[in-house]
Symmetry: C2
Subunit: 779 residues, 2 copies
């Protein structure tokens, strides 16, 4: 057992009470004096030239206070890298997707704003549009951006070893293609933003975000005002899941309206707007060619991937390599080649999402099952043979210090009763396994590290000042746990000041699981710094060495004789009496290769640590409706160390809901040209609590040497492996390897019908009648 | 000329725009969702036992949400020192002055709250009351507090040398008694407080204050919750002047109401409440016996002082020694004895105020003029003979490092044309001079120092985090000036985060001119810390030594070759690229004797520096109305160094308005028993801008070795010397030494009449007719 007071202990989160009482304010809840309502006019065309915008009639609508158009913005484009800066918010010349921002109104109420929006006259010259990534590559396709030939936004080429040689040496080689449609985050909170300028041109702005400092910098660029005049303020946030990591057009628009009229403005997106005007997940087509030894070990893999990026870059270029990297972290290969392309189409822009590249991840594992079937090797063994091991390097040269990939496989298999079920389940029942790995905290250049400041009050309480944002995952509680542990005080003694760009030092944000690893680490370092100051005085007072001391429960005492101690508060007052404040800073920056890049040079140490997850899912398919019932899911993750098992359990559950239950069974966008047909919760079908199966969670601790307390990412490698396991289980249940995701009932029914037809000599027999007899699990 | 970019330059204040546009929010302007209005029921009796409080009817008033009484408070008394803790806010047993808080109501609007207040039934047993300090000392007087015999709150005894011996050795000895009534701050903003509790029992509270951290600690005690759960938040403040340095009963009451109902509550005082229920200045009776050599040099002084403290201690015990200390700083004495008594009476409690002890200060200088007249020495020479000089120690053992007392006297005399006017003015015209000295930053134990944190943004802008509050004097601008100067950036590059107990480190507050000396010093140290980090990288890059570098106008360059430089922003980014945030802390704690105390041991180094001020006033008296017209005022102060001459000029003007124009000519409370008869601006007569005379300001720089840039206090020693100069000028004009302050027209007319009567042999002649002929200036 650990000797920690709070670390590693299950505890309810510090933000629970405010959330369950409804006291917590989300952006849409904010009410500021004299606040106006903002509304955005969006393009009805997927591709068009803006010839003229006439706002004269709209300005006469009673209650309208300000209107902004492309004339109100400075000409600076946004994109996550300099060479992908392609999006001019509020474009004056051209729109590239249905829903792109054309103008915006601030008015005294929503009705007036909408009336004015309806009165804005825009003359468009309609241009030819393209909605399919493969069509967009064609020489005849309309070009979305002049400086991006063939509509290729980015191309990530990776080539390690010699894949052709590898295939030649392989016992068995096969190539398959997998596809998936676009997916959405469907955060609980639709996008909203409130902005206010003061007379000194200082901006205060509130919005859901995955890191306030990630919002401030592009806002500074887009508005042309310095960072010290932009204050992204703390607010309760209803989820991010990889979204909300960058400026949204609405942020700039809201600020422009607020500045123009000199009053606060609030914009709240409808669900439809949230789906079309905040970036979401990519559609993907991937061809995977894999060569293996007779024992199933992969020798070579060649992957080509086309991602439909929509009209602009956003954070999409990062997403091009992530699915590949997750795969190469989880599974060994000798030779590997990857060509990832992100293609522009006239659809809303896509970016990073928590389940990166469903088609890719599920494709790799589905193909492993295909190969296993061919070799007569069961899926668990196939994965154990290929599983990453600690101390190894990935193909792209990242050292994997801690890794319990194999343990997640064996434990998940054991808990799920794999051996009793594989090949032994009744018809239309299936079991599947998936493995994945996720980066813990990748760096974003000079914004890649975090600093925390801790100050102690004279009564021994502490304030932690940190840029870490909590957007639902429990980061606030994590910071409190760490600070209380290191300072030897109680969690209720800790006050947080977080996620406010003016007050808190820069922090990279809550994307890709950096919060504990980087921001939490910084708090740990700051607390150790403060504790050292306390111990130095306490050691003198108690006449012992600093190393002999321990802080716990508001006391500083000698390790081996807990009766010899001094109240922490007393030590604080002793320092104050000497004429010094009791406070300290702590920095943490991940040890990564500074030359590594996402597109141009994806080689070198990419992040501080890697997490590894295995999920096993057991399903039953209704052959009449195609509906999948999930019977049981077992998820095992190497999280490094479990800071708060209760929170981890929630992460596991949410990951399975998003990655498996939603990501494989229901979630995916359908289109009519550039129009998304299922933008709302009613049609998009995010799983609800009542849809969720029984879940077994297995926490495995590999104690990462770099992670604070040995901890690293949790959740995301379950989300991805859950997708893979769900896909495998459905394929197993119906005896067909499914290759197009999500696996909605229509696709399952079609696969069943095709299978029955191909296996039934007499085509006249009733297909459904036969199904139960003929379908056996694929073994 | 200095080589500073901003320091020493006149510049408009950073808070000006928000104030002139009305954008700046004062506490009374705050509007929070669901906020209630609070009202306080006050005692109608000066001394009474509370037998019963019946709130049942009040609770039934529509719109009433919460009522608190003495039953809702924990039993902890407040007072600035442990041994003076005598005030239980919302007493359950006994009230001691008219206006004391008995109960409070929170309701949906003011009318409902007032209706409920009117419905609260309190049964009192009326007790004997005492309203005069001297009567209160009598053995037969009712005792206000059981543990304070003779109603003596504190007695400060100081005895240095041998005054009896000194008097025996003196050429001339005289004793006089001086008196003054109570005075008020009359800040532009009446007291107001807004409090909100969240469901986690965290308190947010806004109120005018002279230091948010000074509010937080007693609130923590009174509420029984730790400091990390109390957030005193930044708000625009309309003046303090020595007030607002401690918890007010309304702070606790507002918090109690907010906690009871779970909604924000706002209490805004009426002017009447502000005068009776926030502590104000003491009434004072002082007897001064002074022995001098033939050349006017003071050998011995024996002072006894009785201050009417009202019903409770508040900060009053500090105020008992301050007038004496100001005097002993300004003027040398060989032997001195002081006995200061603060006496309880059944009047509202009094405390520290910017013009400490009018009767004392004016008494000392008036007596110097009396002595000078006897010796044939003019007032300027009398003061030069006795003026403090640098390098000396005060009688109570404070070292005076920098001192230009004599220069202030000679320069003020010269500028005012003293030599051409003294003894040469027409009848009813008078000229007077006064000198004083004020402490710069005295310590408050473990809360005596300040820490600042500065963080740089990646674009080279800075955020300064400091506990320093700006309550009107320009502290915000001071912090910006210092940070911009030290970092070599522009003032618009600096963002302030100040005066918020949760975010900013502890700071002693803005009383007694500590802000620049302590808080500004801490910002200077923090900026130097950050600059050092920048210079280390810049020095390597430019291949020079750190000491060769200079930062100015967003550049870091080599001192002797300004063309060799590097943009500061670039250096920041270089540090970030190395994986480190650019930030730093700075502490400053004044170098004072930790054993020194205000009451029990007022010996030892009391503060970091002393300022010295001389004012000369020239007046004309209308013998028919007694009205004084001030013709010209010349104020010279040794401020150490002028950080911002424009702000200093404002300080001088405000000080003359408060100390001289108001403090001597109009301001003073009149009483009917325990009822103050002039609680509002209409009757109390604070001078307006149109009342002000021509003012000459003379800034003298002695460059204090400890003050940041050599700076120390400004303003307060003008406020006090202005009082002395005004008093002396009026006495000079009417030829009568006035001893009871303020010098209102009725007193002047009476003095004139007495003088005419005593000097006119024929009592039947028309007094007023004769006045003009007979009255000559006293020389």
């Amino acid at each position: 057992m650990s000797n920690y007071a709070f670390i590693g202990k299950s505890m309810p989160r510090v933000d629970s009470r405010a959330k369950v009482t409804g006291e917590a304010l989300f952006t849409a809840d904010l009410r500021l004096p004299k606040m106006l309502t903002g509304k955005i006019l969006r393009s009805p065309y997927p591709h068009a030239r803006i010839l003229n915008i006439d706002i004269s009639e709209a300005l006469r609508v009673p209650g309208v206070k300000a209107i902004v158009t492309g004339r109100d913005v400075i000409q600076r484009k946004w994109g996550v890298f300099g060479y992908t800066q392609d999006q001019q918010f509020l474009p004056a010349d051209r729109v590239r997707f249905i829903g792109e921002e054309v103008a915006a109104v601030a008015a005294v109420d929503e009705d007036s704003a909408q009336r004015a929006i309806d009165c804005i006259r825009v003359d468009y010259e309609i241009l030819e549009a393209v909605f399919d990534a493969m069509e967009s590559l064609a020489p005849t396709a309309p070009l979305l951006h002049d400086n991006f030939p063939h509509n290729i936004n980015v191309h990530v080429p990776i080539n390690v070893g010699d894949v052709e040689k590898g295939f030649a040496e392989s016992y068995y080689v096969r190539e398959d293609t997998f596809t998936a449609s676009e997916d959405s985050y469907f955060q609980g909170e639709p996008y909203a933003v409130v902005a206010r300028f003061d007379t000194d041109n200082n901006l205060e702005i509130w919005m859901p975000n995955a890191g306030p400092h990630m919002k401030a910098k592009p806002l500074s660029n887009a508005l042309g005002i310095p960072l010290n005049k932009i204050r992204v303020r703390k607010i309760t946030i209803g989820g991010a899941f990889g979204g909300r990591s960058e400026i949204a057009p609405a942020d700039l628009i809201c600020a422009l309206l607020a500045r123009k009229i000199g009053r606060p403005v609030k914009i709240v997106y409808t669900r439809e707007e949230n789906s079309i005007a905040t970036r979401q997940g990519h559609a993907l087509i991937t061809t995977i060619k894999t060569g293996v030894r007779q024992d199933g070990r992969v020798i070579a893999r060649d992957v080509t991937c086309y991602m439909d990026g929509g009209a602009y870059s956003s954070t999409g270029p990062i997403a091009v390599s992530v699915p590949f990297l997750c795969m190469e972290q989880a599974y060994k290969m000798e030779h590997v080649r990857y060509n990832g392309y992100r293609i522009y189409t006239n659809k809303p822009p896509r970016g990073m999402i928590r389940i990166h590249g469903r088609a890719f991840a599920c494709g790799v594992d589905t193909q492993l099952d295909m190969i296993g079937e061919h070799l007569g090797i069961d899926p668990v063994t196939m994965r154990l043979v290929n599983a990453r091991e600690p101390g190894e390097f990935t193909n792209t040269k990242s050292h994997v210090a801690s890794c319990a990939m194999k343990e997640t496989i064996t434990k998940a298999a054991e808990k799920s009763g794999w051996n009793d079920k594989w090949g032994k389940l009744p018809p239309l029942r299936g079991i599947g396994i998936g493995c994945n790995s996720v980066q813990t905290g990748f760096p974003m250049g000079i914004r890649g590290g975090s600093q925390a400041i801790i100050k102690l009050n004279e009564d021994g309480g502490a304030t932690v000042i940190s840029g870490v944002v909590d957007n639902g995952q429990g980061n606030d509680n994590m910071l409190v746990q760490i600070a209380a542990e290191e300072l030897g005080i109680r969690t209720e003694d800790v006050q947080l000041v977080t996620a406010d760009t003016e007050v808190t030092p820069s922090d990279p944000g809550a994307y890709s699981q950096v919060s504990t690893f980087i921001g939490g680490h910084a708090v740990k370092n700051a607390a150790e710094n403060v504790r050292r100051q306390l111990f130095e005085i306490a050691a003198k007072t108690l006449n012992v060495k600093v190393d002999d001391l321990k802080a716990r429960d508001r006391m500083i005492y000698v390790k081996d004789s807990p009766d010899t101690g001094i109240p922490l508060k007393k030590v604080v007052r002793m320092i104050l009496a000497q004429g010094k404040s009791v406070s300290g800073q702590g920095d943490y920056w991940p040890k990564v290769d500074p030359k590594r890049e996402w597109v141009k040079n994806p080689f070198g140490q990419m992040c501080g640590a890697f997490s590894f997850g295995t999920t096993v899912a057991e399903v039953e398919v209704d052959p009449e409706t195609g509906k999948v019932t999930v019977l049981e899911v077992t998820a095992a993750q190497d999280v490094g160390f479990a800071l708060n098992p209760l929170v981890l359990e929630g992460q596991f559950q949410g990951s399975i809901a998003m990655g498996g239950q939603g990501g494989i069974l229901t979630e995916g966008h359908v289109w009519d040209g550039g129009s998304v047909l299922n933008p709302t919760q009613l049609e998009y079908k995010v799983p609800l609590a009542c849809d969720m199966p029984k879940i077994n969670t297995i926490i495995i601790e590999s104690n990462d040497p770099e992670g604070p307390y040995g901890t690293k990412e949790s959740g995301m490698s379950i989300a991805m492996s859950a997708a893979q396991a769900y896909a495998a289980a459905v394929s197993n249940a119906i005896g067909v390897y499914m290759t197009d995701f999500p696996l909605t009932p229509d696709k399952i029914l079609e696969a069943l019908q095709n299978k029955v037809e191909s296996e039934t000599p007499n085509q006249n027999e009733d297909v459904m009648e036969k199904a139960l007899e003929l379908i056996v699990p694929a073994v």
